[in-house]
Structures are given as C-alpha cells and as structure tokens.
Symmetry: C2
C-alpha cells in the first residue's frame, strides 16, 4: 500500500514519468491520510469534517476529494494502514524461533510498539467501527479476526509446549488485546509516560500473567479458599 | 438515583401519593434508560435515534421527551448508572480487609462482574464519550478519574505491604482497566463464554501479572538475555 512506498529515494531519474507522477500522488495521498488519522484521534471521527481536514492540510475541498471520495473511505484506509502495522507485529512473532510464550512476548512487544508509535495503530485500537458502512465494517472485522486467530494460535502453541500455563486462549488473547488497545485511549505522544517505558512495562505485566509456575495454578474456578491460599503465598 | 429505587416493595400504602407517583415515574424513566443502553450497545450511539427508541418502547416521541430532553441526556445518565455500578466495585474493594493485592482482586472481580452483567457498565466501557458536549464529557471524565485514582491507590498499597510486585501502578491500573473494559466490545450475553467463566479467568490472569515472586522480576528493561533466561525457567 501507499504508506510503504515512501521509502523510495527522493532522486530516481531512471523512473518513468508516470511512476514519479504516481509516487508524488501517493505522497500527497499519505499526507491526507496521516493528517486525517491525527484529527480522528484528537476530535473523534464525527467531529472531523472534510472541510476541517482540507483546512488543516491547507488545500481546497475539491483537491481533497481528488484523493478520497468521502470521509468513510479515509477511515477505512486508516484502519487498513493500522492493521498493516499490527500484521507486521504478527510477522515478527511468527518469525521468532522460540517457544509459544516467546512468540506471544514478541507479538505483545511489537503490537504495543505499533500502538504507541503509529497514529494508524491507535485508530484501529480506539475508533468506533460502527461508524462504517456494513460492507466496510465487515472488511475491517475480517482483518481484526485474522489478527485475533493468530495470537490465539501462539498462546495455544505455548500451552502445548509448556511455556504458557493452561488457560482459555481466547480470553487470554482478548485480555491482552484489550490492555494494549486501551493504550490508545490514554496515551498522548510527549506525555508523562514514554513509548519505550510503556511497551516494556506492558510486555512484562501481560506475559507474567501467562507464565506457568506456582503463581499460575491450573484452571480451577477461584473460590474463597483459593484466594486465601494465594494470599498466604503472596505474604511470604 | 432512580435505578436504585426499584428495590422498594410493590405495596407501600403508607407512602404519600406523590411518592408513589414519583416511583412510577422513576420506573418508566428506568425502562427508557435500560432500553436506550441496549440500543446504544447494539447499534452504536449515533445510529440510535429518539424515534427508534420510542418505537422500541412502544411509546410516542412526545412521551419519550417527557422523560429526557434529548439523546445526549440519556447517554449521560447511562454513563452515570454505569459508573455507579463500577463505584460499587470500588466499595467492595475498600471494605475488603485483606492486603493491597486482595483489594485489587476484589476490585477486578466486581468490576468485571459489572461489565458482564450490566448494560450500563458496558456503556461506560465501550461508548465513545467524544459524542458528549464538553460539559457532559468533563463530568464523565471526572467520574472516571475518581475510579482510576482508587485502583491505583490499591496497587500502591499492595506494593507497600509487599503483596504486589514493584511496578508502575499507573500503567498496571491502565492495563487492567483496558483488559476489563475491552470485554464490553466482544462479550455478548448468551454467547459462547459465560459471565462467571469470564470474570473468574480475567481475575486470575490479571492478578497473576501483579504478584511478586521469581516470575515477576523487579522493574528492569526486558532485553534478549532477560527473555532467554525467562524462557529457560518456563521450560523447567
């Protein structure tokens, strides 16, 4: 997609004119998308109008409509760019040669990094997809489901190889996704907590809840007696 | 607030007429609020119109406007009822006589219960407060901040008394709030996962990440070497 094509060198005279033309169009298209993502995160999707976006970009509304037919198309592309970055986190995890827990750790680390460093990642995490048309929403939810299935697979792999304590992989993946996505609702770039600090602390906290050992008993329904015995351990 | 007044016995002849009248008004007010919350969760706030709400309640639009001046007022009241239920979780935690970790566990358990059993709880967790007017949003955010401060206080108490491993209490409380609030985005009453199963598994997972012990090393920046040593432990 266009956002990944900005890596081209600024001077490529051997490129045919139509390719350079295309790239220049892509750069402008990216600028529109990035400014829109920032506005969606600042003001919410509804309060970001095409007029406001054009004004922020310092272009006319007809110029804006040259790149995108409407605001929903921009939102879908923001989701797509965000999901691309989260799928990058999945690739990091699947190329990790360790056990299931190491794959989950790699995924959590890369996913949290995508959320704190990338506006599009925060768009996926925090914007309400009920604003989309039925067709666009189905598309976005399919992409999200693919991500959910992959992380659940790593947890299952960890349960099989013994690196993850037996748990409900579906709920564990929801808990991790929730904790990480929620970062998008409170994190402000340049605020009190730095991106590296957040990523490292979240990775530690979330992975700690999955590891086997005396602290993570096999799946039993917690009851008063169980709570008391855990507390005694904690007091030691 | 009105939602708590439904606990009155249905026969209280000693109540003055105006009190019975008020209670009947409250019961209808509650019915409007509960139906609205369900619709907001099903369709999203924007797609729930006053006409649709009146139709679902089988009343006229003027009858609906007798109870609420507009849709935003209904949303604010849904938030208020949800925050009341989450504050109930805080009361459970503060009346818990155990150490800091036990208070956090009590809070997580009651909070997750409020989210899976109570539509208003899910409204607080999932509806976008940027839909609100500035004044209403300030009100809602103040209420949310009060909740955040309390849970952070329990974590700090646990760090002080040794029941919680040293961690950044602010991030730990955000991670827990995120994991629990996210339940509201995927949980469907009557779906594959039951409320008790969800509450028990989430409590176990989230508390496990806070407990001290060899699995939760003191705050260090995770690096490759650290990852490898944790993996060796996990394999044992």
């Amino acid at each position: 997609m266009a956002t990944s094509e900005n890596n081209l060198s600024p001077h490529e005279p051997w490129k045919a004119f139509h390719v350079r033309e295309q790239r220049s169009l892509d750069i402008k298209w990216d600028a529109v998308l990035q400014t829109a993502a920032r506005l969606f995160l600042e003001l919410g999707y509804r309060k970001t109008s095409m007029s406001l976006l054009a004004a922020r970009l310092n272009i006319t509304k007809p110029a804006l409509y040259y790149y995108f037919r409407n605001k929903e198309e921009i939102l879908v592309e923001c989701y797509r760019a965000g999901i691309d970055s989260i799928e990058g986190a999945l690739k990091d995890a699947s190329s990790c040669e360790g056990n299931g827990l190491e794959k989950v750790r790699s995924y959590v680390h890369s996913y949290a990094t995508a959320i704190v460093t990338y506006d599009f990642g925060r768009c996926v995490a925090t914007l309400d997809d009920s604003e989309l048309s039925d067709q666009a929403r189905r598309q976005v939810r399919n992409l999200k489901r693919r991500i959910d299935a992959a992380i659940r697979g790593y947890i299952d792999e960890g349960i099989q190889d013994g690196s993850v304590a037996p748990c409900n992989a579906k709920m564990a993946s929801f808990a991790m996704a929730g904790a990480i996505n929620w970062i998008g609702t409170w994190y402000r770039p340049g605020g009190g907590l730095g991106p590296e600090e957040i990523v490292s602390e979240f990775t530690r906290l979330l992975i700690s809840g999955l590891q086997p050992g005396p602290k993570a008993p096999r799946r039993t329904r917690p009851n008063q007696a169980d709570n008391r015995s855990r507390t005694r351990r904690a007091r030691k």
